[in-house]
């Protein structure tokens, strides 16, 4: 756990998260992420061998409801938030890059 995170790892993590880092940003974030990971080392001091993890503290379990369709009737208001709309549809660039690079 205590090994410092490398530039290559940060670059990989950024790509998993759909983020790109410039050449200036990569060392900056690598350094910071290394320091942040450093504080996690203290958790190694804690014996959790017989401890169950807690992922949520809600007192609700398996909340059921009827499966009913609900038409909000706000198609136009929704589309007003879309960056690029054509004929009532949201437009995106091509999925496959056709520019050839």
């Amino acid at each position: 756990m205590s090994e410092k995170i490398s530039k290559e790892t940060v670059s990989h993590v950024a790509s998993l998260a759909k983020l790109e880092l410039t050449d200036e940003q990569l060392p900056y974030f690598t350094d910071q992420l290394g320091s942040i990971m450093g504080i996690f080392d203290s958790l190694n001091d804690v014996d959790t061998s017989n401890v169950e993890p807690t992922f949520s503290v809600t007192d609700q379990i398996n909340v059921m409801r009827e499966d009913v369709a609900d038409n909000w009737g706000q198609r136009d208001a929704l589309l007003d938030n879309a960056p690029d709309v054509s004929d009532g549809l949201i437009r995106t660039p091509t999925i496959i890059d056709e520019s050839g690079d």
Binding site: M1, I5, T9, V10, V13, A14, L16, A17, K18, L19, E20, L21, F29, Q32, L33, S35, I36, M37, G38, I39, F40, D41, S42, L43, D45, V46, T48, V51, E52, P53, T54, F55, S56, V57, T58, D59, Q60, V63, R65, W72, Q74, A77, L78, D80, N81, A82, P83, D84, I90, T92, P93, T94, I95, I96, D97, E98, S99
Partner: protein, 486 residues
């Protein structure tokens, strides 16, 4: 309208007596808030048109003499969905986003007759403790314009402290209601996880986020929680536990109450003035008939490390939805879909959000899940068990809210120092407990807050303890003189 020295009950009386109409009150409120905002920048946007219209409707129907919230102007944090009104979560990513619905807490406040005058500034996606990471510029602390207002609900707290409004709603994932309340000398409540619906709150860390009120007085706070608490079919984690009237036992005092003072929360890193204020508060409680005894919460010190794995992990998942396609910021120069995602996210998110997304992505990635995310979740169990132990013998836990008063806006801040500032508030979110900050002192003219932590769904006892303290001290009666320290 300047709300310094006032509360919901005094304004309600003026409205009922007809000294002022809801419309006049709303107009004057917005006028005063806009004037103050030239100094503090607490608001991202004002919603004058809807506010006036709503006030006119309330005047037409008549102020309900039995509903103290009828016609009271309020403000909403910018990560809470407001129908047709900008909701940006302090981010460039959502700087043009207008929701098609009101979130449940916003809707409930409207049903209760309050009038939302605008959206308050915050750290981007609620990730921060100083409101410095907002896309809309920094907010300043009304007590001293060179200081931060805290965060992430910094605008919400500054707006109440400056007398812009009597009530704002904030959200709290690791201290984001309580710490700004402390820095601004006001009352802030983070209710039990599940007490208030999160429907329509832009998600940061779903197992930790909770909405709550920031107010000038304890009783005002209880009145507002009455209005927003309860089961909501849109949020499956909202609790169906009965919602009591939080004002019912508020004046019952603390005689015989058992208050715990955890020694770890008064240790190294906590300012001397802050320590002294909390020890003085403990003495005040003893004087009022409570028992105050030292206890230990040994695993709380691991809270920051565990939190900065869990919260970023949940955030990295929650923030995947921002892809530039259906709403929000879209990069202009993308050649294909993949590039559109990457460029929109890289240009739309600020550095702190990117840091946390990357930490979270790393913690959840193959090969690291057990060492990071699972380990943090196990430590979370130990933190919860510590609280359970103490609450077997005590009614309330008393601690400082933050290790220091508000710090400078100018200092260069590194992430680690910022994260460590949350050390006293984070364990409460990890355990899902109710926690509130109450004015408890001053240091060089800057407010100090004390934190009261309660058993799950026992906000009533917190309000009771907080009210007893407030009624026997005068910290809440002091007001900022805008523009400089006292």
């Amino acid at each position: 309208m300047d709300y310094l020295g006032k509360d919901i009950f005094s304004i309600h009386e003026s409205l009922v007596n007809g000294d002022i109409t809801a419309e006049e009150l709303t107009r004057q409120t917005i006028e005063n808030a806009k004037k103050n905002d030239e100094d503090i920048n607490a608001f991202v946007v004002f919603d004058e048109e809807n506010a006036i219209k709503q006030a006119q409707e309330i005047d037409k129907a008549g102020i309900d003499p039995d509903n103290v919230l009828s016609g009271i102007p309020v403000a909403m944090k910018d990560n809470m969905l407001t129908k047709g009104v900008l909701t940006s979560a302090g981010s460039k990513m959502l700087s043009n986003f207008k929701p098609i619905i009101d979130g449940t807490a916003v809707a409930k406040m409207k049903e209760a007759g309050t009038i939302n005058i605008g959206k308050t500034n915050m750290d981007e996606f609620a990730m921060g403790g100083s409101t410095e990471t907002s896309f809309h510029g920094k907010t300043k602390n009304p007590w001293n314009l060179d200081k931060v207002p805290g965060g992430s609900s910094g605008g919400a707290a500054a707006a109440v402290a400056a007398g812009d409004v009597l009530v704002s709603l904030g959200s709290d994932t690791g201290g984001s209601i309580r710490q700004p309340a402390s820095f601004n000398g006001i009352v802030g409540m983070k209710p039990t996880y599940g007490r208030v619906s999160r429907w329509g709150l832009i998600a940061f860390a779903s197992s930790l986020d909770q909405i709550g009120p920031l107010t000038r007085t304890v009783k005002d706070n209880a009145v507002v929680l009455n209005a927003i608490a309860g089961k909501d079919e849109h949020d499956m984690t909202s609790s169906n536990k009965e919602v009591p009237d939080f004002t019912a036992n508020i004046d019952k005092g603390v005689k015989g109450m058992k208050i715990a003072l955890p020694k770890e929360y008064l240790g190294e890193g906590v300012d001397k003035d802050v320590q002294d204020a909390i020890l003085a508060a403990a003495d005040k409680y003893r004087e009022l008939g409570a028992t105050v005894e030292e206890v230990s919460l040994p695993n709380s010190k691991y809270g920051v490390a565990a939190y900065y794995i869990i919260a970023p992990s949940e955030a990295s998942s929650n923030l995947q939805r921002f892809d530039g396609i259906r709403y929000g910021y879209r990069a202009q120069d993308a050649k294909n879909l993949e590039e559109l995602y990457v460029k929109s996210r890289s240009q739309g998110f600020g550095d702190e959000v990117k840091r946390r997304i990357m930490v979270g992505t790393y913690s959840l990635s193959a090969g690291f899940f057990d060492a990071y995310f699972k380990k943090a979740a196990e430590v979370r169990t130990l933190i919860i068990d510590d609280f359970k132990n103490v609450f077997q013998d005590y009614d309330v836990i008393l601690t400082p809210t933050a290790p220091t008063p508000a710090y400078s806006l100018k200092d260069e801040k590194d992430p680690i120092t910022m994260y460590m500032n949350d050390i006293l508030t984070i364990p409460v979110n990890m355990a899902g407990l109710p926690g509130m900050s109450v004015p408890a002192g001053f240091s060089d003219g800057l407010p100090i807050g004390m934190q009261l932590i309660g058993k799950p769904f026992d906000e009533s006892t917190l309000y009771q303890a907080a009210y007893a303290f407030e009624q026997n001290t005068d910290f809440h009666k002091q007001d900022p003189k805008m523009g400089g320290a006292q």
